[in-house]
């Protein structure tokens, strides 16, 4: 990588940070409890809109994992979820009615909050339908992982998005607030992921899973990216470039080993495909606030009408992280 390229990436990073700075005005604090954040706290950053039904379990899941504080951006919810969040003792929430799309799908807001409150902390940036999973997560709290990463001088931790789905029609089983969504969406694709390297940013670009299989078979290059780097020991100079798919400086994207070995990695169990999905897809289609002209949602909406069963004979049922490790979807690396 030449000096010129590296200089351009530096400029780009500055641009994202400036953008975040400009977009800060769009955020109105509703409940700011960030004074309570202590130096070693683990933080979750999240953008949400009308996800009220998912929030109780989401908060419980990450509290049990050992997260100390949540920082939410509420994008114009109308289902009371903003009030719900504001009432939680360990949640700080900002609201905005500005365009999600023009905030680069919420990333400008998150970059700003990260810069303000994430500096020096281990930060986990996830959506309300994403559940972080790491090696030994059933016996060791998240802090065990971050302490180990600190001791190993590792600053970013990869967790691929694993789409979970129910067997049968997506809307067959209603999801209720507080319920573990994995009880319904308990199936996943084990071995149809394809990986490529993005030379410019140094990150991997992973596609596949049920969405590629069902909705993007004829235009695979449009299938959603599944590579994510949600867990980062944040520094105020960092910036997410595109969702949590990649970061700058680019060294943070090097979460994979190039010489045959395996680095430790986790997964984000993506529970998008619940009964709430159909309405969500239609709504997002109306709003046109999603990536690439909402092509993804367009494809879903069509796909959903045609055949709403993502399940196939070779789908796997989720058991635990060890199963996913054996299947090669995540790795313990040298953590034992």
């Amino acid at each position: 990588m030449g000096a010129w390229q590296s200089y351009r990436l530096r400029l780009q990073r500055r641009r994202w940070r400036l953008r975040a700075f400009r977009k800060r005005r769009e955020l109105k604090p509703v409940a700011n409890r960030t004074d309570a954040i202590r130096a070693s706290d683990l933080l979750v950053f999240c953008t949400q809109r009308n996800e009220g039904v998912r929030l109780p379990y989401f908060l419980k899941y990450y509290r049990d994992m050992g997260v100390n504080h949540f920082l939410f951006v509420d994008n114009d919810s109308t289902d009371g979820s903003l009030d719900y969040l504001a009432r939680q003792p360990d949640v700080s929430v900002w609201s905005t009615r500005a365009s999600y799309k023009r905030a680069r799908f919420g990333m400008d807001w998150i970059n700003w909050l990260l810069r303000q409150h994430g500096h020096g902390h281990w930060t986990l940036t996830v959506d309300p339908d994403e559940f972080f999973l790491y090696p030994f997560c059933d016996t060791r709290p998240l802090r065990a992982l971050t302490d180990w990463l600190d001791a190993s001088s590792i600053k970013s931790f990869s967790a691929m998005l694993l789409d979970m789905y129910p067997k049968g029609r997506i809307d067959a089983q209603p999801y209720e607030a507080g319920q573990d969504p994995l009880q319904i969406a308990s199936w996943f694709d084990a071995g149809n992921y394809t990986t490529r390297r993005n030379r410019r940013f140094g990150n991997l670009w992973i596609q596949g899973g049920p969405r590629a299989r069902m909705f993007f078979a004829d235009q695979p290059e449009r299938a959603p990216a599944l590579n994510k780097i949600p867990l980062v020991k944040w520094d105020r100079r960092y910036a997410f470039v595109s969702s949590t798919h990649m970061l700058l400086p680019r060294g943070l994207n090097l979460v994979y080993d190039e010489w045959g070995g395996e680095k430790a990695s986790g997964l984000l169990l993506h529970t998008k495909f619940l009964d709430t999905f159909g309405t969500k897809a239609e709504e997002e289609l109306q709003r046109r606030q999603h990536y690439a002209g909402s092509k993804e949602y367009l494809a879903y909406a069509e796909g959903i009408r045609e055949n709403p069963d993502l399940w196939c004979r070779f789908s796997e049922t989720y058991i635990n992280w060890r199963q996913l490790e054996i299947l090669g979807l995540m790795s313990k690396g040298n953590w034992a």
Binding site: F136, A190, T195, R213, F216, A217, W259, G260
Partner: protein, 566 residues
């Protein structure tokens, strides 16, 4: 009391206090060294928290950066203090704040009482240790290290390089042979006093002050001068990973640690409440006083290092994406590629499946879709047969298939009508067995009813594609098991090569080929080729077929096939 403890502490003071109390409860005097970088307020609070114990002392503080002299100086001072204050101490155990006694202290004392003259210190000459990180073993003792390895790796490395190039070297003091080993030791008073009160100690200290990571070599080297009986092993269970940093123990290691029968383990995660509770409050005596046996733990950590450095062969995923040539196995298992066989033989796939018991696919890279075995639309791992998904990343399609079906041999058909992008990947994959009957693509053309002009065009195109594939297979970088026959050559005696291939697949070992595959009727094939020639095309990949008579005996007689192995 015969056993005294020296504890080096720099963090997690709550845990250090717990452990110090544990040693003290068993009657062992404890001298604690606290890193000088620790804030005075924190230090005072820590001293205060242990003030009720008369046999816990604090030694002069040094700054203890990793890999520097401070750690040795701290051990020296603390050991001196301990030996002076407690004349009854016969063994000194060097531990850290993150060490946890696993067996009752009485058992350790009894163990040492039974070996009153023995120094437990891992100590090996530099030539014999494999564990040095960064390749600096002997050079630790002969180069200068003014730059911090942790703080300024770049300058550290450059300066090492410069010294190597200039041939700079320090002289190792007369009388010593550098030894290295774990920094956690248990030495006898006799040996320690000999080291600490040696007349030339100042000379040695001055030398080791500039050695890299002296805490792994100072006592290890000098003990060799003075000790009468060295057991070269550490009583502290401590495992290092490939970067030279210690593995950490968590709550879920409880049973493993219990069964190890080791006296002390490090490093324990400070928040491992269950471990601290189990070993400090309810230590279980080993029923029959066994020797420490960390074998199982060794294996687990060795596996972890292997996973990190070599990974799982044939796996491509978010945290393993090897550069070309570093895959340590391009694919996860062996598989076979057949080119031309299904053109030449009728129902070759069914026959092959019967003969080998392997999973036999059709043309996986066919233009319309991947022809999975049994006409399936989707296979293991939810791998879809869609051509678009497959062609977006042909290599991933294959590596996924082989990974998903680990343990089951895969076979598939390939040919010039299929997507060719995969060719190079299978050619350089040692797991691939590639068998080619060149020119067999002409048989379907020969059977076809298409107009001759179309056939001629297609024959020319297919021949060109196959030619390119053969060029790749002949590349010096090819690593696959490759066999190539011209069609004319193959039909001379088809059973012999088939038997070899089947045996190599080796699933139904020792089984003889009970039935031969049925060859297409080639009567008139020679004339067909001649017609192509007459139209100005030059079919050559199939070898020489006489125009008349037709290839004799298209269908092999039901004779016994050759048996190559028993």
């Amino acid at each position: 009391m015969s056993l005294g403890i020296v504890m080096l502490v720099h963090t997690a003071f709550g845990r250090a206090e717990q452990v110090a109390r544990h040693w003290s409860r068993a009657g062992c005097p404890v001298v604690i060294h606290v890193d000088r970088s620790v804030a005075p307020r924190v230090y005072r609070a820590f001293v205060e928290s242990l003030s009720d114990l008369p046999d816990v002392h604090f030694s002069r503080r040094h700054r203890c950066q990793w890999g520097t002299w401070g750690l040795v100086a701290a051990s020296q001072d603390a050991a001196e203090l301990l030996l002076d204050r407690y004349p009854g101490v016969r063994h000194v155990y060097l531990a850290s704040g993150a060490c946890l006694p696993l067996r009752p202290v009485d058992e350790l004392i009894a163990y040492l009482d039974a070996r009153p003259q023995t120094d437990f210190i891992e100590s090996a000459t530099t030539a014999d240790v494999p564990w040095t990180v960064g390749g600096l073993d002997r050079e630790r003792f002969t180069l200068f290290f003014p730059f911090s390895w942790r703080g300024n790796r770049y300058l550290f490395d450059r300066f090492v390089e410069v010294q190597r190039r200039l041939g700079l070297a320090r002289r190792i003091p007369r009388g010593i042979v550098p030894h290295m080993g774990s920094q956690w030791w248990c030495l006898t008073r006799k040996t320690l006093e000999a080291i600490l009160h040696a007349p030339d100690r100042r000379r040695f200290d001055r030398y080791f002050r500039r050695v890299w990571i002296p805490d792994e070599s100072y006592f290890q080297t000098l003990a060799r001068l003075h000790s009468e009986h060295i057991e070269s092993r550490s009583l502290t269970l401590s495992k290092f990973d490939f970067q030279g940093k210690p593995h950490i123990f968590y709550d879920d290691h409880l049973q493993l640690l219990r069964r190890s029968d080791c006296f002390v383990a490090r490093k324990i995660w400070p928040h491992a409440d269950r471990l601290y509770d189990a070993f400090l409050n309810h230590p279980e005596g080993a029923a029959n006083r066994q020797e420490p046996n960390p074998g199982k733990i060794d294996r687990i950590f060795a596996k972890a290092v292997d996973r990190r450095t070599r990974g799982r062969a044939g796996l491509y995923m978010q945290s393993r994406y090897p550069n070309q040539g570093w895959e340590n196995g391009v694919t996860a298992g062996k598989y076979s590629v057949f080119c031309g066989f299904s053109d030449l033989f009728r129902e070759f796939e069914d026959w092959l499946a019967r003969a080998t018991g392997a999973q036999v696919h059709g043309h996986l890279y066919a233009p319309e879709r991947a022809e999975f075995a049994g006409g399936q639309r989707i296979v293991n791992g939810a791998l879809s047969d869609t051509a678009g998904l497959r062609d977006a990343n042909p290599k991933a399609f294959l590596t996924n298939l082989v990974w998903n079906t680990r343990g089951e041999r895969q076979c598939f058909q390939h040919g010039p009508r299929d997507a060719q992008a995969i060719n190079w990947h299978i050619t350089r994959d040692p797991n691939a067995q590639i068998s080619v009957i060149t020119g067999a693509w002409a048989v379907p053309l020969f059977k076809s009813d298409e107009s001759f002009a179309v056939l001629r065009r297609e024959a020319a195109a297919l021949q060109k594609i196959e030619r390119r594939m053969l060029d790749e297979l002949h590349s010096p970088e090819a690593k696959a098991r490759i066999r190539i026959w011209s069609m004319a050559e193959f039909i001379e005696a088809p059973m012999e090569p088939l038997q070899v291939l089947i045996d190599e697949i080796g699933q139904a070992s020792g089984r003889r080929l009970a039935e031969a595959p049925v060859m297409e009727d080639l009567t008139g094939f020679g004339q067909f080729l001649q017609n192509l020639k007459n139209q100005g095309m030059h079919p050559y990949l199939m070898g020489d077929f006489p125009v008349e008579p037709a290839p004799r005996d298209a269908r092999p007689r039901a004779r016994k096939p050759y048996i190559v192995n028993q």
